[in-house]
């Protein structure tokens, strides 16, 4: 149990020494993506092989160094899940991709024992071998600060976090700074909340600090519900102690001694990593009463969500922690005055807390040197959809949309043509080709009618129908509407009904205007952010792709060919030889005809599954 600052410094130097003594390190990615690809099997196999070959290996950093060992560790998510399972080899910094269990022997014998690089396991970019992570174009254009530890350190070990200087920002704040100084530092850095709104973090903390109430809380929002976003998941899995450290600093300067982490239940791995991190920190005395011999006490608890998107909203989230239905309430009073259990509460999201230790350690000037003046720092984005490199990225705020999609993301997948990108999830907007030069920061996006949201970027190509995308998001929002206020509950339902009508070819003249009118009303009168922003995908797709809506309504045609109800499959009588092959593939017996005469598809029966198309030897069947 650490009792003083000296104790902490001592233990840190002890572990730093052991870390240094590990002559080689194998970091197996144990993020959700790589685990799904079998990385834990690989981890066990590597460990087993090293034991068989009597290679001294260490799973956890020990206090005493007896002899140099090979460290084998489970790291957090590298962010490039598509090429997983990933293994990082230190000290060379090599990255092996798509590693399989069968490759383990070669990795041990060649790389670990002889330091030989295995070319076939390296990432290849157009035939060029990228040995190191930073050689890969996907990483080259990124600036990883918040994600700097993800994939680089053992995510399950507090010892390793300490060894690389972890908790030094907390140490500095605790022993060298007053509460005002901490707030001053955060305020002057210009850090804005990464959860979507972009509210200045320092101002929020200051408001909580000012409250006279003796009981205050720090709450971390890990309810990353936007479909297509997983920045916070990766941070919680890959660098859990950094999140804890940010929360502890917030508690210290705001006068709170209890913190809550609210994590969605769909992230079981993040929950277990955070749980372990809290246990480790409590065990060595970085959490608990009278931390490091000071008067500061801080305790942390984890609450798991239960599948309600609306709980990402502040007042709904605190209601859920209190054990109630997660429904937003009217504001004011605001969370900083009457938050969790009606007490003053600091509520920030995971990525925001993960920035705190960086600012305390590196200073205001450093932070402000990254990104534009009004939105300094970096932002993590989840890059997904029909793009070559899907994954988690971090770039300076203000990087343009085009740079993100084409330089980091590698452009469109399967030769598709870039059509649009949905930013900020179901409550965000859609950006198109004309926005490729738009800098991604809070203010520029707001001006363009979108929002940064939590940072999901879903890239769409010419095969994605924008009306269908709007319907998809409205369906999501409608499902997740809590039902408390009428505009959102009924308005989303009506908007969804109209969109469903349009994509199934039943749209009528005037539907677009009706949608826009409803959108206006719902946005102006809903109680919380979910309703206020629910119509954004509709408004921005109509603004950018009005002709697609019109084609569905007037011509009963889907220009992208995505809406199945508007598809028609026909047999070209001139090409059909009546061979009967197609009839066997039809699951609903919609195709009939006389052998050797042209066959026909009964459109009333046809479910447009397209199963018949590839069966025709004469290419007579096609979608029209």
């Amino acid at each position: 149990m650490l009792k003083s600052r000296e104790d902490l410094d001592n233990i840190r130097s002890v572990y730093a020494k052991t870390l240094e003594s590990q002559k080689a390190k194998i970091l197996v990615c144990a993020g959700t993506g790589c685990v799904a690809g079998g990385s834990l099997v690989i981890y066990d196999r590597l460990k087993e092989l090293m034991e068989q070959r009597n290679i001294p290996c260490s799973v956890e950093l020990e206090k005493e160094v007896h002899h140099p060992t090979v460290g084998i560790k489970k790291s957090g998510c590298h962010g490039f899940c598509e090429i997983g399972p990933l293994i990082r080899i230190e000290p060379q910094g090599w990255l092996y991709v798509k590693v399989q269990e069968e490759d383990c022997e070669e990795i041990i014998d060649q790389t670990v024992l002889n330091g030989v690089h295995i070319e076939r396991l390296a990432y290849q970019n157009d035939g060029e071998i990228c040995k190191k992570q930073d050689d890969i174009p996907f990483y080259k254009r990124q600036t990883r600060h918040v994600l700097q530890h993800c994939g680089q350190i053992d995510a399950t070990s507090i010892n390793e976090y300490l060894a690389i200087g972890g908790y030094s920002a907390f140490e500095k704040a605790l022993f060298e700074m007053t509460g005002d100084e901490i707030i001053h530092e955060i305020t002057d850095s210009g850090l804005r909340g990464r959860g979507g709104g972009g509210f200045p973090v320092g101002r929020k903390w200051e408001q909580v600090r000012r409250q006279k109430e003796p009981q205050k809380y720090v709450v971390c929002n890990g309810d990353e519900g936007d479909p297509g976003a997983f920045m916070d998941r990766s941070i919680m899995e890959g660098d859990p102690h950094n999140v804890l450290e940010g929360m502890m600093i917030a508690g210290l300067c705001c006068g709170a001694n209890q913190g809550y982490l609210y994590v969605r239940a769909e992230y079981p791995l993040a929950v277990s990593r955070l749980k372990a991190a809290i246990e480790q920190a409590t065990e060595i005395g970085l959490l608990g009463d009278r931390i490091l011999g000071t008067d500061f006490s801080f305790h942390l608890r984890i609450n798991q969500g239960a599948g309600a998107f609306v709980c990402g909203e502040g007042s709904a989230l605190t209601a859920s922690i209190e054990g109630k239905r997660g429904m937003p309430r009217v504001k004011p009073p605001r969370t900083v005055e009457h938050g969790l259990f009606d007490k003053p509460t600091v509520l920030n999201n995971v990525e925001t807390f993960a920035n705190v230790s960086l600012i305390i350690n590196n200073g205001i000037e450093w932070f402000q040197s990254i990104g534009p003046e009004k939105s300094p720092g970096t932002k993590a984005f989840a890059l997904t959809g029909n793009i070559v490199n899907t994954g988690l990225i971090e770039v300076p705020m203000g990087t343009t949309l085009g740079e993100v999609i084409f330089d980091v993301g590698g452009g469109m997948r399967d030769g598709g043509k870039f059509k649009g990108v949905q930013i900020g999830g179901p409550s965000g907007g859609c950006l198109t080709e004309k926005d490729l030069d738009l800098p991604l920061d809070f203010d520029s996006l707001k001006k363009a009618g979108a929002m940064i949201g939590s940072g999901g970027l879903v890239v769409m190509d010419d095969k994605n129908c924008m009306v269908e995308v709007a319907r998809f998001f409205m369906n999501f929002t409608q499902n997740e509407s809590c039902g408390k206020c009428v505009p959102c509950r009924e308005g989303t339902k009506r908007m969804l009904a109209i969109l469903e009508r349009i994509v199934s070819g039943q749209g009528v003249e005037g539907d677009i205007e009706l949608l826009l009118e409803l959108a206006d009303t719902v946005s102006a009168t809903s109680l919380c952010g979910l309703g206020k922003t629910a119509a954004l995908p509709i408004v921005s797709t109509i603004k950018n792709f009005r002709s697609e809506y019109e084609a569905h309504i007037r011509e009963k045609r889907c220009p992208a060919g995505a809406c199945s109800k508007l598809k028609k499959i026909e047999i070209d009588a001139a090409l059909c030889k009546g061979c009967t092959k197609c009839t066997k593939s039809c699951p609903v017996n919609a195709i009939s005809g006389k052998v050797k005469d042209p066959f026909v598809i009964d459109q009333a029966k046809c479910i447009k599954c397209g199963a018949c198309i590839p069966t025709c030897p004469f290419h007579a069947i096609r979608e029209v």
């Binding site: 993506g33 799904a36 479909p227 297509g228 239960a306 054990g323 239905r325 997904t384 899907t390």
Partner: protein
């Protein structure tokens, strides 16, 4: 019915999170993990133990998507229909599984209580889209055919068990 229900298990769960109103969600999660759904017997019992009304516990149980008042299947398959999976065609996978299991949007669990088929908004594994999970194990880069194979594999496991 009350005589046959094992309240000791429930007590253990209550002890873990503390018998207080703010633990309702955590306790219900614990119960659901154990039984794969919320048996109706627990409601009057939790009223006694936690001192909150049955209506308020029921309101929590019905508000959150993850709670089920109906028994779920031995294998819970969740097809991710988050944005990233959706644009990479997750719906054909869902449709294939629905037709093979003879389930629909309204009927989510097979009669033999072997399978429950649901959708989930996002599992955060977007890099591997489209994904599905079977009892929380993630299966990446799925196609309708791969999903059929997986289903066949599980059915064989069930037969051999």
């Amino acid at each position: 019915m009350e005589n046959t229900f094992d309240y000791e298990t429930i007590d253990e769960i209550i002890e873990e999170f503390g018998p207080k109103a703010s633990s309702v969600i955590a306790i219900l999660q614990g119960v659901q993990e154990k039984y794969r759904y919320l048996p109706q017997e627990i409601f009057p019992y939790l009223v006694k133990r936690l001192g909150v009304s049955e209506a308020s516990i029921y309101s929590v149980a019905t508000f959150y998507e993850n709670f089920s008042l109906e028994p779920k299947g031995k294998y819970v398959i969740k097809v991710c229909d988050g944005t990233a999976c959706h644009v990479r065609r997750s719906i054909p996978i869902l449709e294939r599984l629905r037709s093979e299991l003879k389930l629909s949007e309204d009927i989510k669990t097979t009669e033999d209580l072997n399978f429950t088929l649901e959708t989930v908004s996002c599992l955060g594994a977007c890099g591997l889209a489209p994904v599905l999970t079977v009892n929380d194990k993630v299966y990446p880069a799925m196609t309708p055919d791969k999903a059929s194979q997986l289903l066949q594999q599980i059915k064989e496991e069930l037969l051999n068990a």
